[in-house]
Symmetry: none
Subunit: 424 residues, 2 copies
């Protein structure tokens, strides 16, 4: 199945917004065995949109069109669909009711432009939007041998509709290419080091089995792809490659699929019936934010102290001013004391801490930008490790947080057995 | 001058790499007065590339093609150019010498594929690469009334060649369209409500003056664009539209260009010589994370208490357990007490607080998912406001944080005069 993406928006053309939707859709569709052959971006101009849509429908089996479904005057996607497919717009009463309720619940008056959101071209199915008011659209342009999915441009809405409604519809179709994927999620190792650890894999890899490195600030994912009509054979080849990877870098492989470091840590904490809290300087609250990104995190996460100022490190976390004077805030003893201090201050079982130099200023020869000390404390042990990352502030904050979470994961992995644990 | 971008690479289609080049080129070309009308991405397939290149050359005045200029076997851009423009490849001796020196200087042996980098289609000019080995290419396809620039896909190389060689060549051409942009940044109002507030603008807008809404979880940006050869006239039209927008939604306009809510708040706090801290439940540390995204934030941001568990709200922030029993954690008195409590706990001038239901679970009829109470406290006043957002956890956390920061901005705007302030 060959897909074309058609993403709409002047803001994409002039680079005011990065086209993250195209990349996300590309990844998801590839994983589903849909081959993305072309991505086109044009502005909010009905004639151009129509020309591109007609071309895509003619050339592809599946077209995903994004953007231009909002309530404002430059949202013209519905009109373009109506014209292109000769499908007059009608008001969908159910959607209209939902929009009315949406505004009622929020105590807002419905804006006069809102009814536009309930207009649906004749013959189009609607796709539920779990996040916002604009529904997605689905059309079987059978005459052209093509299916069209239309999604809002707001990334969260697009993802919600894709996962809930587009993916199941695609999976129900027969002519997907037989591609088997597996993703191995790693933690605590960079792309180059991981590649070095894995070494030469050319005896395993070929045209039908490939390995891609997908690095991000939360770790490197490895995507293993086998193309084979026989899915058992494909699975076997992927198993073989997985085995090699685990043999060479096994302690860094924390799971498969979409699993995240935060989820692995959540499982560990739940299993050991322990609570966690963070003491954050350089990460500014990001560790707490990431831990609370998971629904149900209140089972094991109790809170954090962001001690950005040294005064807060002293008053709330009990860091001795003399330690700060002697070693500086970015130091082993301060990281240890912050981790131990947050256990006391919040009454949690495990404390993790960050103190570092995110940059761009504040670096010294001895402690350049990118230096971080990570602290860990539980009821029987404390630990601190120094890591060195990059020059960019935004990246450093993410990398520091990931490293602190990974330190907790490893300590819990190593020492987290129940008998090893002295309850508070 | 109308431009089409043609970006090449399978990794872009399957989303393994984000197409940051397209966004960067879009921004730079727009700033130079070149209108980017379409961006197309296709894979490393010569036939497809040729079809897209021919179409772009036919329709645009200026085509920028990126990618496929490297030394590997799937780098076929040179062959495609040679075929499309009937311009046989020749080896450029000067480039060949440079490549030889490049490897010599680094003490590496020249790879056998390197000579490919010195091949140039007949009639093409070369553009110096200040960063890497692959040169850019420039072709005046005068027969088709089009100019073609070809750049490597590696972002640093692309930027280096664009800035050094493409920009000056473009500026020397007469037919750039005079386009003037201005972005107004708003806060504390959604897209629909903002549109309603702005009302009918059709007396001001036309083909030469347009207004685009760019919504995100940190606010809606408004992009005003005027096309006019006379830049003074363009500025005047944009001023006129700006004036109207400010008259109708002025309290929501917090700045222009790339300014963020966090930066506006930073300016207010610096000007008033005050410090801030946050007490976060539903946002889990995100407010602290966002405030510390700015380098230099330690001048006014001291820290946060993430009080995810009610016990932490009591012990660290001093929230009375009876308040929690009587009103629940998501309530006006708790939000107020959290904001006041973090002032005490951290010794800061201004406290802001969030307590809400991010979802997907935990909602009730009275307090559905998306409900948040925001608290504000300074030395003379406390305040709490209730807001209702969406159903998605990730979005809610961002929207709650934005709303809390915006509450602080408004309170400081209203009451933040120096004489109004009782120092701690």
């Amino acid at each position: 199945m060959k897909a074309h993406l058609l993403t709409i928006g002047d803001e994409l053309l002039i680079g005011q917004t990065e086209n993250t939707n195209a990349a996300w859709l590309g990844r998801r569709l590839s994983d589903l065995g849909v081959e993305v052959k072309r991505t086109v971006t044009v502005g909010d101009n009905p004639d151009t949109m129509r020309a591109e849509l007609e071309r895509a429908v003619r050339q592809a089996d599946f077209v995903v069109m994004t953007g231009g479904l909002g309530p404002t005057h430059d949202d013209v996607t519905r009109e373009v669909l109506a014209e292109t497919f000769d499908a007059p717009l009608r008001t969908d009463d159910e959607i209209m009711d939902r929009i009315r309720r949406y505004y009622e619940q929020r105590g807002h008056q419905m804006p006069p432009s809102a009814p536009q959101l309930a207009q649906v071209p004749e013959g189009f199915a609607t796709l539920d939007n779990p996040v916002g008011a604009a529904v997605g659209l689905w059309y079987d342009a059978s005459d052209d041998g093509c299916v069209v999915a239309v999604l809002p441009g707001i990334p969260e809405e697009l993802k919600g509709i894709f996962n809930g409604s587009v993916e199941p519809r695609l999976e129900a179709r027969p002519h997907l290419r037989a591609v088997t994927h597996r993703t191995l999620v790693t933690s605590g190792i960079g792309e180059s080091s991981l590649q070095e650890r894995l070494g030469d894999l050319s005896d395993l890899l070929d045209d039908e089995l490939s390995l891609a490195y997908l690095p991000s600030t939360s770790g490197v994912r490895l995507r293993l792809t086998a193309a084979n009509e026989d899915s058992t054979a494909a699975e076997q080849r992927i198993d073989q490659l997985t085995e090699r990877i685990r043999a060479r870098a096994g302690e860094h492989v924390i799971g498969t699929g979409d699993v995240t470091l935060e989820e692995v840590l959540a499982e560990q904490l739940r299993a050991a019936d322990r609570t966690i809290g963070s003491a954050e300087s350089a990460t500014g609250g990001l560790i707490g934010h990431r831990l609370t990104g998971i629904s149900g995190s209140s089972d094991y996460y109790e809170g954090s102290v962001v001690a950005y100022a040294n005064r807060v490190k002293q008053t709330v976390l009990g860091v001795d001013p003399e330690l700060l004077d002697e070693y500086g805030a970015v130091s082993e003893p301060v990281a240890v004391k912050m981790a131990a201090g947050v256990r006391e201050a919040l009454g949690v079982d495990v404390g993790i801490a960050t103190t570092g130099i995110a940059g761009p200023t504040g670096g010294t020869e001895e402690k350049p930008v990118g230096t971080v000390w990570l602290g860990y404390a539980d009821d029987v042990r404390t630990r601190a490790v120094r890591r060195q990352f990059v020059e960019d502030r935004t990246l450093n904050k993410q990398l520091f947080a990931t490293a602190a979470l990974d330190l907790a994961r490893r300590e819990l992995e190593r020492h987290g057995d129940a008998e090893d644990w002295v309850p508070r």
